[in-house]
C-alpha cells in the first residue's frame, strides 16, 4: 500500500538530482534476510530520515551503501552512476561518509590520529597530522564542532566521540553523510548542536541520511523520511506531509501510543535510601560527591543530567558493582553490605534489581543462549537449582515465560543473544530483572537505541511496576523519557544533586539550566535527608 | 638379530649414544651381522621397547644409559632366555650383564693434562645434567688437577638439571665464556650434546677444551686438548658378540677401567702438537700408579661427596 505512495510523492527527479539511488538491494546473514528488495532514493541537498523497528535492516542497508557489507544483489547509483561499492575506501572515494551506530574509533588513539587513520597523506605521519590539525581547526570553526585534537578517545564523552566521527567524514570530503542513530547517546544540548551542524551541511548542498528512533527528530529536521519494516522498505514520504502517529503506525504495523499514560503516584514507605554516597571512578577520581536521596514505594524517581556527571558511578555503586568510598545504601530499612567484587549479588538478594545502562557490555552475555541470560545474576537462587546444581529446565521455563510476557522476538530461547536486535535484547534484560519481583528497581537508560514500539511497551512495564508498589530509580539522558515517567526528578551535575523538580511543572528549559549546573545556589536542595550537610 | 637401544639423547649425540651406535656399526662391519636399534621418545617407552625386542626374539638386547634401571628390573625376569646388557647402571638379574666404567680414573688423567697445560692456574669443568654420574667425572678431574697443582683454581658448572641439559650448547657456551672470563684456560666438557658449545666457545676464545666419551679431538683441531674417552663403543661391540651366546655371556657386573682400556685419554693427529712429551709421561705415570692401586681415586657415586 505504502510503496505506491512513495512513488507518487517523491517520484519525479528533483532539481538537484538524486544523490543516492538503491534498487532491489538484498542481503542475508545466514538465515536472516536483513534486506529484501529494498528501493531507496535520496535527493541531493536534503536530510533524509530512515525509521524502523529494531532489526528492520536500517543499519545493514546503510552499511551496504558504505561498502562495509556487500549486497547479495541489487544496484547502487551514486549521483546517477551505477557503482559497485566493494569496500569503504570506494565509498569514501565516492564522497559517502558514515557515522556508525557503534562508533568506529580506536579508543587509545588521539582525536587527531583517528581522523587521520586511513586518510594519511604520506608514509610519515607528521605532515598528515599537521595538515589534519589545520583542517580540523577550520572544520571546527565552520561547523562549530569543538574537540581537543590531542585528547584520547577513551577519555572524552560520547558526544565528543561523535563529533570526531563527523569530523572524520568531513575530513575525507564526504558529500553524503550517513548517521546511524546519532542521538542515542547524546544529551538534548548535544543533540541540538548536532542538528545545527546537519542543517549547515544541508545548506551547503550536502546530503544527510539520518537513522533514528526518535520521531520528534525526524519531524524537526528531515525533508523526507523512509520507513522500514522487517527487512522491507514500506514507505517513503515527505516529512511535511506526515505525522509521528502515521510514521509509528507504518513502522510497527499497528497504532502506537506515543504518550505515556499514567495515574498520579501514590507513594508508600521509604524503600531505598542513599546516604552521603561518595564514589570514585576507575581512575580514582571522585565522581559522586556526597549524594543523598530516598525513594518510596510506588514512585519513580528520575535522575536527569548530562552524561558523565556521575550517574554511571552512582548506579554502579548503589547496585553493588562499584565500591563506594563512603556513605550507605539502605534498602527496606537495612543497610546493604556492598563492598567486594560480588556486592551485586548481595544487593540482588536484598531485593534490588538492576537494568544496566549498557546491555551488551554488562546486562547480557551475548555469546550465551537467550535462556542462559534469563537467569544472569539470579543463577544462585534456589529456584534455579538446589545446592550447587543448575536446574536447566527451570531456567528454560523462566526464559520461556519472560519471552512470552515481554513479547521478545524471535521467541526462541535457544537463540544466541547477540542475534537479537537491540530492542529485544533490552526486553530480555528487563524481563529478567522485573520478573524477580524486586522491591527496588534501578534502571539505566531503559530505551537507548530501542524502537518506539518497544519503548511504549517498556514504559508501560515500568509504570506497572510502580503501581505494584515498587520503588524505581530511573537514570536517563532522555529528558522526555524522564519527564514522562518520573514522579520526581533529581538533577545531577558534577557528582552532586543540584536540585529537584516536579515533572508536571518544570519546563525543559528549567531542567536544562539545572543540568548545566547554573542554579546550584538557588535551586532547592530537595529531599529531607539531603539537608544533612553543606555543599562540598 | 641383537637389539641396541639408545637413551633419550638420541643416537647421534656426538657423545655417549653415538659411541654406542659406533660400537654397533663396528660390530656390523666385523661380523657382517645385522642389529635393530631404537631411539626413545620418552621414559614410558622403555619397558615397551624392551618387551618388544625381547618378544620378537632379539638376543642380546643392549641398552645404553643409567636410566634403564627400573625398566630392565621389571622386564628382565619376564624373558629369562634373553640376554640383556646395560651400560652405566647395575641391574641384578641372572640374565643381565651390567657394565660400568671407571669415569673417575679417566677423568683424573685428563685433569692431570689440564693442570699441566694451564697457564693461568685455573681450569674448568662444564657438566651436562647435574646428576651423580657427572659429578663422578668432575671429582676425578678435580683430583687429577690438584695432584699436579695443589693450588689450582677449579671452576665447576652444569648446563642444567633436566635431560634438556644434554642438548643445550648455547648455555654450555655461555658457561664456558663465563669460566674463561674468570680465568680458566682449559675446560673439560662432560655434557653430551651440549659439549659442542664448550668446544666452540673455547676455540673462539683461543683456549683449550677437553672432549668426552667419544674421541672429539677432530671437532676443533688445535683447540681440543684431548678427550676423556669412555669406550662405550668397545663395550657395545663386545656385548653384541659375547652376549649372543650363553657360553660367552657374562652376567653380573663388569667394570671397565684404565686397565681394560675402558676409559682413557685420546691422542691423535689432531692434538699431538698440544700434548708435550712431559705431559704424556706424567699421565702415563699416574695411569700406572692408579692401575697398580698406588693412587686411589675417589669415586663420587660411592658416598656422594668429593673430598679434595
Amino acid at each position: 500500500m505504502n510503496t505506491q505512495r512513495s512513488d507518487t510523492t517523491v517520484a519525479a527527479a528533483p532539481a538537484a538530482g538524486w544523490a543516492i539511488e538503491l534498487e532491489k538491494i538484498n542481503k542475508r546473514f545466514g538465515a536472516v534476510h536483513a534486506n529484501k528488495d529494498i528501493d531507496l532514493r535520496v535527493q541531493r541537498g536534503t536530510i533524509h530520515g530512515i525509521v524502523g523497528e529494531n532489526g528492520a535492516g536500517k543499519s545493514t542497508l546503510m552499511s551496504i551503501l558504505y561498502g562495509f557489507y556487500t549486497a547479495d544483489s541489487g544496484t547502487i547509483r551514486v549521483n546517477g552512476q551505477v557503482q559497485e561499492i566493494a569496500d569503504s575506501r570506494h565509498a569514501l572515494a565516492l564522497g559517502i561518509g558514515m557515522v556508525h551506530q557503534h562508533f568506529m574509533l580506536v579508543d587509545n588513539f588521539s582525536v587527531l590520529e583517528n581522523v587521520v587513520l586511513g586518510a594519511e597523506d604520506s608514509g610519515f605521519l607528521k605532515p598528515s597530522l599537521t595538515r589534519a590539525r589545520k583542517e580540523l581547526n577550520r572544520l571546527e570553526q565552520e561547523y562549530d564542532l569543538e574537540v581537543d585534537p590531542d585528547a584520547i578517545i577513551e577519555d572524552v564523552s560520547v558526544g565528543q566521540q561523535q563529533r570526531v566521527e563527523i569530523l572524520k567524514a568531513l575530513y575525507r570530503g564526504a558529500e553524503t553523510l550517513i548517521l546511524d542513530e546519532p542521538t542515542g547517546v547524546l544529551t538534548p544540548k548535544e543533540a541540538d548542536d548536532l542538528f545545527r551542524v546537519l542543517e549547515t551541511l544541508r545548506d551547503q548542498g550536502k546530503t544527510v541520511i539520518l537513522i533514528t528512533h526518535k520521531l520528534r527528530e525526524i519531524m524537526a529536521i528531515t525533508d523526507n523520511v523512509s520507513v522500514m519494516r522487517q527487512g522491507q522498505m514500506v514507505a517513503t514520504v515527505k516529512t511535511a506531509e506526515t505525522s509521528p502517529e502515521q510514521l509509528a503506525e507504518l513502522m510497527v504495523g499497528r497504532r502506537v501510543l506515543l504518550r505515556v499514560d499514567k495515574s498520579a503516584a501514590n507513594p508508600g514507605k521509604t524503600l531505598l535510601e542513599v546516604q552521603n554516597l561518595v564514589v570514585a571512578d576507575d581512575m580514582g577520581i571522585t565522581r559522586v560527591k556526597d549524594v543523598s536521596f530516598a525513594i518510596r514505594a510506588g514512585e519513580i524517581v528520575g535522575i536527569a543530567g548530562v552524561s558523565g556527571n556521575g550517574q554511571t558511578e552512582l548506579l554502579e555503586s548503589i547496585t553493588g558493582m562499584r565500591d563506594q568510598k563512603s556513605g550507605t545504601v539502605v534498602l527496606n530499612g537495612k543497610p546493604l553490605a556492598l563492598e567486594g567484587d560480588d556486592g551485586a549479588a548481595r544487593a540482588r538478594k536484598a531485593g534490588l534489581a538492576h537494568v544496566p545502562e549498557d546491555r551488551q557490555r554488562m546486562g547480557l552475555v551475548t555469546t550465551f543462549a537467550e535462556w542462559e541470560n534469563a537467569i544472569l545474576g539470579y543463577h544462585d537462587k534456589p529456584a534455579y537449582g538446589s545446592g550447587p546444581f543448575l536446574d536447566i529446565a527451570a531456567a528454560k521455563k523462566a526464559a520461556a515465560d519472560h519471552v512470552k510476557l515481554f513479547d521478545v522476538r524471535p521467541a526462541n530461547i535457544n537463540l544466541k543473544s547477540s542475534l537479537f536486535s537491540g530492542g529485544n535484547q533490552q526486553k530480555i534484560v528487563l524481563a529478567r530483572e522485573m520478573e524477580q519481583d524486586p522491591d527496588v528497581l534501578v534502571i539505566g537508560q531503559p530505551t537507548r537505541g530501542v524502537d518506539i514500539g518497544a519503548i511504549e511497551f517498556i514504559h508501560n512495564e515500568i509504570i506497572k511496576m510502580r503501581d505494584e508498589g515498587k520503588a524505581i530509580l530511573l537514570v536517563s539522558v532522555e529528558l522526555d523519557e524522564i519527564r514522562s515517567l518520573a514522579d520526581r526528578i533529581l538533577v545531577m551535575f558534577d557528582g552532586v544533586i543540584v536540585g529537584e523538580a516536579d515533572p508536571a511543572t518544570a519546563t525543559e528549559g528549567e531542567l536544562g539550566l539545572m543540568m548545566a549546573g547554573i542554579n546550584k545556589e538557588t535551586a532547592p536542595r530537595g529531599l529531607g535527608i539531603a539537608e544533612q550537610g553543606p555543599l562540598p | 638379530d641383537p637389539a641396541l637401544i639408545y637413551d633419550l639423547g638420541g643416537k647421534f649425540d656426538k657423545s655417549f649414544n653415538e659411541a654406542a651406535y659406533n660400537g654397533g656399526q663396528a660390530w656390523k662391519a666385523e661380523t657382517g651381522g645385522n642389529f635393530v636399534d631404537l631411539e626413545l621418545q620418552n621414559d614410558a617407552q622403555r619397558e615397551q621397547a624392551l618387551r618388544r625386542f625381547a618378544g620378537q626374539g632379539a638376543n642380546p638386547v643392549v641398552m645404553a644409559g643409567f636410566s634403564w634401571t627400573a625398566a630392565l628390573t621389571a622386564v628382565a625376569p619376564e624373558f629369562p632366555d634373553t640376554n640383556f646388557v646395560v651400560l652405566d647402571t647395575v641391574v641384578d638379574a641372572p640374565n643381565v650383564q651390567s657394565i660400568l666404567f671407571d669415569e673417575h680414573t679417566g677423568s683424573y688423567l685428563v685433569g692431570v693434562l689440564a693442570a699441566m697445560k694451564s697457564e693461568t692456574g685455573s681450569v674448568a669443568f662444564i657438566g651436562g645434567m647435574d646428576v651423580p654420574l657427572i659429578h663422578k667425572f668432575y671429582c676425578g678431574y678435580a683430583q687429577g688437577a690438584r695432584a699436579v697443582n695443589p693450588d689450582i683454581n677449579l671452576i665447576e658448572n652444569y648446563t642444567g638439571t633436566t635431560p634438556a641439559a644434554w642438548n643445550d650448547p648455547v648455555t654450555a657456551g655461555e658457561l664456558t665464556k663465563a669460566a674463561i672470563d674468570s680465568g680458566a684456560d682449559v675446560i673439560f666438557a662432560a655434557a653430551g650434546g651440549s659439549g659442542i658449545g664448550v668446544l666452540q666457545a673455547a676455540k673462539d676464545a683461543g683456549k683449550f677444551s677437553i672432549g668426552v666419551d667419544s674421541n672429539q679431538n677432530y671437532m676443533q683441531p688445535g683447540s681440543v686438548l684431548t678427550s676423556m674417552v669412555k669406550r662405550v663403543d668397545l663395550a657395545v661391540q663386545n656385548a653384541l658378540t659375547e652376549a649372543a651366546d650363553d657360553a660367552t655371556f657374562k652376567p653380573g657386573l663388569t667394570i671397565l677401567g684404565l686397565a681394560e682400556d675402558g676409559v682413557g685419554y685420546s691422542v691423535d693427529e689432531f692434538n699431538e702438537e698440544l700434548i708435550t712429551d712431559e705431559m704424556t709421561a706424567a699421565a702415563e705415570d699416574y695411569k700406572a700408579k692408579i692401575i697398580a692401586g698406588e693412587i686411589a681415586v675417589h669415586d663420587y657415586t660411592t658416598d656422594s661427596s668429593c673430598p679434595l
Binding site: R28, M362, L376, G377, L390, L419 | A44, E47, T69, S304
Partner: protein
C-alpha cells in the same frame, strides 16, 4: 555473490573434522614419501599399532589418560577466560604429592593409597595453579606469563626435590624410591589380559570420571555457569554479582588439580616412582587437545584418544619402519593440529557450497538453531 549458509550440525561436528584429519594424513603421507617409505603402509602400521592389538590399544589408552587430564585442565580454565599454559608444571609438581603419599602408604592397600594420592596430587597441582590465579586476581599479573614461568620454576624445584630430597643415596638415576606393589594403582591387565603388558591402569577410570565431572561442573552447576559468564564477559559477571577474583582463583585451582592427575597415572600407575620430566610435554599436548576438542569433554575425550593413538602408533612406526624417526611422529601430530585445529576453515566454504547445491531449500529453522549453540 553466492550467499552461503551454515552447514548442518552433523557436517559441522563430524564431516568437516574428518576431512581435515584426512588432509593432515595426506600431507603426512607426502613427508613419509619424502623419506622413501610407503605412506599407506605407514598409516596401516599406525592404526594397527594404536588399535590393532591389546598391548597397542593399552598404550593408546595410557597416553590418552594423560591427555584427558591436561586437556580438561586447559578447558576448564578456558571456560573462565583463562589460558592455562602451565599444565606441564602443575602436573610435574603434583608428582611430589603423589609420591610422598604413595611412599607413605604403600604398605597399606591401593584402595587407601590411591584416593589419598589423588587428593595430594590434586592439592599440589592445584596449588601450583592457584598461585598464578591469585596473582592474576589480586595483582593483575597476566596468567599466561605466570604459568609459563611456573613451568620453569617447577622444573627447577622438581630437580632439586628429586636429586636432593627424594633420591635414595644408592640410586644413580635421578629418581625417587620405588613404590611397593601394594601401593601402586592396579593395571587394567590385571583384570583384562587383553591389554598384555601395556601400562594402562585404573587412572583411566579417574580420567573418565573427570570428563563427566567437568561436564557436569561446566554445564550443570551454578559454579560452572558463573565460570562461563566470567569467561565470556567479565563485566557482565561483575554485574551478576559473581566475584571475579574468587572465580579466577578457584578455577585455576581446579584446572591445576586436573593437570595434577597426570601424576597418578604416571607416578603410581606406570613408573611406580618419581622420575625427572615424567610429564614429557603432556601439558602442552593438553592445549591442543582442549582446542581441538572445543573445550567440551566429549571433544576432549576424542582428541585425547587421537593424540594417544598418534603417540602409540608413532612408536609402532619406529619399531616397524626404521627409516621413520621419532621426529616424523611429531611432524604428523603437528599437521593434525594444524589441519583439524587451526585450518579447520579450509574446506568449510567448499563444503557449504556443496551443501547448497545438494539441497538449496534448507530449512532455515534448523539453521537458526544450529547457529544458536553457545560457542565454547
Amino acid at each position: 555473490m553466492s550467499a552461503r549458509r551454515p552447514l548442518p550440525r552433523w557436517a559441522d561436528i563430524a564431516l568437516l573434522p574428518a576431512i581435515n584429519l584426512l588432509m593432515a594424513f595426506l600431507v603426512s603421507g607426502l613427508v613419509v614419501l619424502f623419506v622413501g617409505e610407503n605412506p599407506l603402509h605407514a598409516i596401516q602400521v599406525i592404526i594397527y599399532g594404536a588399535f590393532g592389538y591389546g598391548d597397542g590399544f593399552g598404550y593408546t589408552l595410557y597416553y590418552a589418560t594423560n591427555f584427558i587430564f591436561t586437556g580438561l585442565a586447559v578447558a576448564v580454565a578456558a571456560h573462565a577466560g583463562l589460558f592455562n599454559i602451565g599444565g606441564d608444571g602443575q602436573a610435574y609438581v603434583a608428582g611430589l604429592g603423589a609420591i610422598v603419599v604413595a611412599l607413605a602408604l604403600d604398605q597399606t592397600h591401593w584402595l587407601i593409597a590411591m584416593p589419598a594420592a589423588i587428593i595430594a596430587a590434586g592439592a599440589m597441582g592445584g596449588f601450583w595453579a592457584f598461585v598464578p590465579g591469585w596473582l592474576q586476581a589480586k595483582r593483575g599479573s597476566h596468567v599466561v606469563i605466570t604459568t609459563i614461568m611456573f613451568n620453569f620454576i617447577a622444573a627447577a624445584l622438581m630437580v632439586y626435590m628429586v636429586n636432593r630430597v627424594l633420591k635414595p643415596a644408592t640410586t644413580m638415576a635421578p629418581e625417587s624410591a620405588t613404590i611397593a606393589v601394594d601401593g601402586r594403582v592396579p593395571q587394567l591387565r590385571q583384570f583384562l589380559s587383553f591389554f598384555g603388558y601395556s601400562p594402562v591402569n585404573l587412572s583411566i577410570v579417574v580420567a573418565i570420571a573427570a570428563l563427566i565431572g567437568v561436564y557436569i561442573l561446566i554445564w550443570h552447576t551454578k559454579f560452572g555457569y558463573a565460570m562461563r559468564v566470567l569467561g565470556a564477559n567479565p563485566t557482565a559477571s561483575r554485574y551478576a554479582g559473581i566475584s571475579n577474583s574468587r572465580m579466577i582463583m578457584i578455577t585455576m585451582t581446579i584446572s591445576g588439580a586436573l593437570a595434577g592427575m597426570v601424576a597418578i597415572n604416571e607416578v603410581m600407575g606406570v613408573q611406580n616412582r618419581l622420575v625427572l620430566d615424567y610429564v614429557a610435554g603432556a601439558g602442552f599436548v593438553g592445549i591442543a587437545v582442549a582446542l581441538m576438542g572445543r573445550n567440551h569433554p566429549i571433544g576432549i575425550a576424542l582428541a585425547a584418544l587421537l593424540f594417544g593413538a598418534l603417540y602409540q602408533g608413532g612408536q609402532e612406526l619406529q619399531f616397524v619402519i626404521p627409516g621413520i624417526t621419532r621426529e616424523m611422529i611429531v611432524v604428523i601430530q603437528a599437521l593434525v593440529i594444524l589441519f583439524t585445529g587451526a585450518m579447520e576453515g579450509l574446506f568449510r566454504p567448499s563444503l557449504e557450497r556443496a551443501f547448497m547445491l545438494m539441497g538449496p531449500e534448507q530449512k532455515t529453522e534448523a539453521i537458526a538453531v544450529s547457529t544458536a549453540k553457545p560457542e565454547s
